[in-house]
């Protein structure tokens, strides 16, 4: 039977055409209304944020002069303004901002939101709570981590938790929770530990991270890349006190380039004596990292660097030449000599480094 001869065919077509026409009109009207509403809301939000920031900085009890938040836009404005103040100020102003959060139950609003069924709304709520750095949220984060099924949200919870670490217990708990998640990126893990170190430093317990580093060194249950990221975080946080522990890592993990690289970054500043050894490491990435700090070793390294200008690896040749260019006249002299080298790769690297040095001077 032909489709068009069906008695319902035209009825269906008419309905489809009618629905499409109605949908198009509805969509245009809704879009214009939505745009108008968002434009207004954005302006109101910016004004409110400015008002909140000014009140926190200038008034002893800002809650007396500020309106209570009543909708999502208000809460977002409070959250953004307060978290920005917490990041930029300290002392009394931060206390005022924190009191305001409790008084207007901003944290409770986001805690409620973190129980919604839509995962990205939960993630957003956790991000918002995390930016407030409220010590009281520590227990909440631990509890919510246990019940959270989506890993994208769990990464965020852990990140928030890392900003609230207060003692050694917390470092262990955070690293255990981290181990329950698939490895995300070096930057993420580094950042989690960096936050932890910063929080501990603020609590005057910087040495706690050193103990933790020492304890996990021989723990085979902790993956190597987590250990590496801990060392990197330690370097980024400027944990000079932990130099001895890092040296222990350096000695214990001689066959692990990733760990050696992380160690070099910290040790080059406190113990440049390791440089000659790492400059000749079999792994080119280790040699490259060492070259970035070679200028700290002074003129003792001139001959090592001269050899490395002839290395088989492009990056090593180039960086060796650049390191020589930072070692004053003696380094420049070697480079000038190398420009006439029969090894054209070395000669090119030397010419490049010399040009840079001359331009800088």
């Amino acid at each position: 039977m032909r489709l068009t001869s069906s008695p319902h065919f035209y009825a269906c077509l008419y309905i489809a055409v009618g629905l499409l026409a109605a949908f198009n009109i509805f969509e245009i009207v809704f879009m214009l209304f939505h745009k108008n509403r968002l434009d207004k809301s954005e302006i109101e939000k910016e004004l409110l944020k400015h008002r909140i920031s000014t009140a926190i900085i200038t008034v002893t009890d800002p809650s007396e002069v500020l309106p209570k938040p009543v909708n999502a836009m208000n809460y977002a404005a409070y959250n953004e303004a307060v978290s920005s103040i917490i990041e930029s100020f300290e002392g009394e102003i931060v206390e005022r901002a924190t009191k305001l959060i409790y008084k207007f139950e901003i944290d409770l609003y986001y805690k409620r939101l973190s129980r919604t069924t839509i995962w990205f709304k939960r993630a957003h709520a956790i991000d918002m709570l995390s930016s407030l750095k409220l010590k009281k949220n520590r227990e909440f984060f631990y509890a919510v981590f246990k019940s959270e099924p989506v890993k994208e949200v769990r990464y965020r919870i852990l990140y928030g938790l890392s900003r609230l670490a207060r003692d050694r217990e917390d470092i262990y708990s955070i690293s255990k929770l981290l181990a329950t998640l698939p490895y995300l990126t070096a930057k993420y893990t580094e950042d989690v530990f960096l936050n932890t170190i910063t929080a501990l430093k603020n609590a005057g317990k910087e040495e706690e991270f050193g103990f933790f580093l020492k304890q996990i060194m021989t723990n085979s249950g902790i993956p190597l890349k987590i250990k590496r990221d801990c060392l990197s975080a330690c370097y980024l946080a400027g944990c000079e006190r932990d130099g001895l522990i890092v040296k222990e890592y350096y000695n214990a993990f001689q066959n692990e380039p990733a760990i050696i690289i992380a160690c070099i970054r910290t040790l080059a500043n406190v113990d440049p004596g390791i440089l000659p050894e790492v400059l000749h490491h079999k792994d080119w990435r280790v040699r490259l990292t060492a070259l970035k700090y070679a200028h700290l070793g002074g003129t003792d390294l001139l001959h090592d660097l001269k050899d490395l200008v002839h290395d088989s690896n492009y990056h090593i040749r180039l960086n060796a030449a650049l390191a020589l260019s930072k070692l004053g006249d003696a380094g420049l002299e070697i480079l000038r000599g190398e420009t006439a080298s029969t090894d054209k790769f070395a000669a090119n690297a030397a010419k490049y480094a010399l040009t840079g040095a001359e331009a800088a001077s």
């Binding site: 035209y10 499409l20 879009m31 214009l32 990205f120 993630a123 991000d127 930057k187 950042d191 980024l236």
Partner: protein, 464 residues
């Protein structure tokens, strides 16, 4: 009339109808996917947002921005000035002059005090010989490569070899990046080690208020031809590409603005000389990762914006669309092992199939529809009520897809501030079907018959 002819006509009608339903359903589905992705993105890109990348030393990867240029003397200096204003902690700009016959290199020498750049180049991927490399005396992160002509792909390959950083961004010389575009497009590389490429949204520069290489205010172009392209770009990027994100099957990252992990691009031997080098590269990246079981992600990020000039004459538009379609065909042909091959999973079965059956075969079927439906009608094989209802439905459905694309744009980004611009875009959703679509359709079909050629295809520039 013979029985055979009548049967054939009915079959043709069936094919056209099924195609019409399938194509529009696919577009509608993509819009729904895109809506989900955009809403999700609006929640996730807030507090731990791109700004953090700028404020934390530990949280960025340096980027090389590669700008291939061929006869771009009119716009190249503005393009570089806009790039120098980018908000990013560490980046280098590499402009590759691909043997221009105009004043491009002279203009660059004059505007940026160029001196010799002696850094040895590691030739990891092949390209035409480099004549000279310069570095700016004023901006130490600006490098100019002057090389022999080899085409756009070849120029980017030279840029990759000279670049120093682990990720690179390829950018057209007639495009302007928003100051935080690199921040936003490189963020996924930091948040996920598996990300190997990201693309941002390309928007229409024509009509916008531009000062010192920055877009001060987005306005809809006055000419209808350009205004329709605003709609077309929103549809292509926001519904098309965002939709494919959801199933990790994004096959195009625009050549105008894409960010890539250099080691992966080197692993596939760089860009291939073809008119559609952008799609070809992304397809080969998919293939390489799937063949070698490398976990990977290729993302479209709807937030970072690149503004680009679009054709402002019909002749330019036709030439561009012809080139784009040739690029699509060549990429599919070169990567034909990915067609309907279960080994490549969703990328092949959904992504590649979509391009083959919707983007390649679609125009041919649509053109057949334009020709055959009137023929069938005059042969008495269709009644007028059916034809009118079918035309009404196809128009309304198409318009609804266009308006949905504007809705996606307005929902989150609201680049066009004026209500009248949004209303005019809605009007363009209708105008799109009154000639514009048919012209581009004709070029796409024509391209199927002449799809070889890899040389530069530059267009005239308008000063902003």
């Amino acid at each position: 009339m013979s029985h055979f002819l009548v049967s054939a006509a009915y079959y043709m009608q069936g094919i056209i109808l099924v195609y019409f339903l399938a194509i529009n359903s696919t577009y509608t589905l993509l819009i729904l996917f895109a809506l989900k992705d955009i809403v999700q993105n609006s929640y996730l890109s807030t507090s731990r947002g791109a700004r953090r990348l700028l404020t934390s030393d530990s949280y960025y990867k340096p980027v090389s921005i590669i700008v291939p240029a061929y006869n771009e003397s009119a716009v190249i200096s503005d393009c570089i000035r806009s790039l120098l204003n980018l908000h990013y902690p560490e980046f280098e700009i590499i402009v590759v002059n691909d043997g221009s016959s105009d004043e491009t290199i002279a203009r660059l020498k004059e505007d940026f005090k160029l001196g010799a750049y002696l850094k040895p180049v590691r030739r990891q991927i092949p390209h035409a010989p480099i004549k000279n490399i310069y570095i700016s005396g004023d901006y130490p992160n600006l490098i100019i490569i002057d090389k022999e002509t080899g085409g756009k792909a070849d120029a980017i390959n030279a840029g990759i070899n000279v670049s120093s950083y682990p990720i690179f961004c390829s950018l057209d010389a007639d495009s302007l990046l928003e100051p935080d575009a690199i921040l936003k497009s490189s963020k996924p590389f930091i948040e996920n080690d598996e990300v190997i490429a990201t693309g941002g949204i390309v928007r229409v520069l024509n009509g916008c208020l531009v000062k010192d290489g920055a877009v001060l205010e987005a306005e809809l172009p006055k000419k209808t031809l350009e205004a329709i392209q605003v709609l077309e770009y929103a549809r292509a990027f926001l519904s098309g590409r965002t939709g494919w994100n959801l199933i990790n099957s994004l096959l195009i990252i625009s050549g105008a603005f894409g960010v890539f992990r250099k080691d992966m691009v080197v692993a596939v031997n760089g860009y291939r000389k073809t008119v559609g080098e952008d799609m070809d590269l992304v397809m080969r990246l998919h293939r390489h990762c799937l063949d070698n079981k490398i976990p990977y992600k290729i993302f479209f990020v709807p937030d970072p914006v690149c503004w680009t000039q679009v054709p402002f004459t019909l002749a330019m538009l036709r030439k561009q669309r012809n080139r784009w379609h040739r690029g699509l065909l060549d990429s599919l042909l070169a990567n034909r092992s990915m067609i309907l091959n279960p080994k490549y999973g969703a990328v092949s079965l959904l992504g590649v199939s979509y391009f083959l059956f919707v983007e390649v075969l679609g125009p041919i079927i649509e053109l057949l529809g334009y020709i055959l439906i009137p023929v069938f009608y005059f042969m008495g094989l269709l009644d007028s009520k059916f034809v009118l209802l079918l035309i009404a439905m196809s128009l309304l459905w198409g318009i609804s897809i266009n308006i949905s694309a504007i809705f996606l744009d307005t929902y989150n980004f609201r680049r066009y501030k004026k209500q009248k611009d949004v209303l005019r875009l809605c009007l363009m959703s209708v105008v799109d079907f009154l000639g514009y679509r048919q012209i581009t359709l004709y070029e796409r079909v024509r391209a199927c018959f002449y799809f070889k050629g890899t040389q530069w295809d530059t267009q005239k520039r308008q000063s902003q």
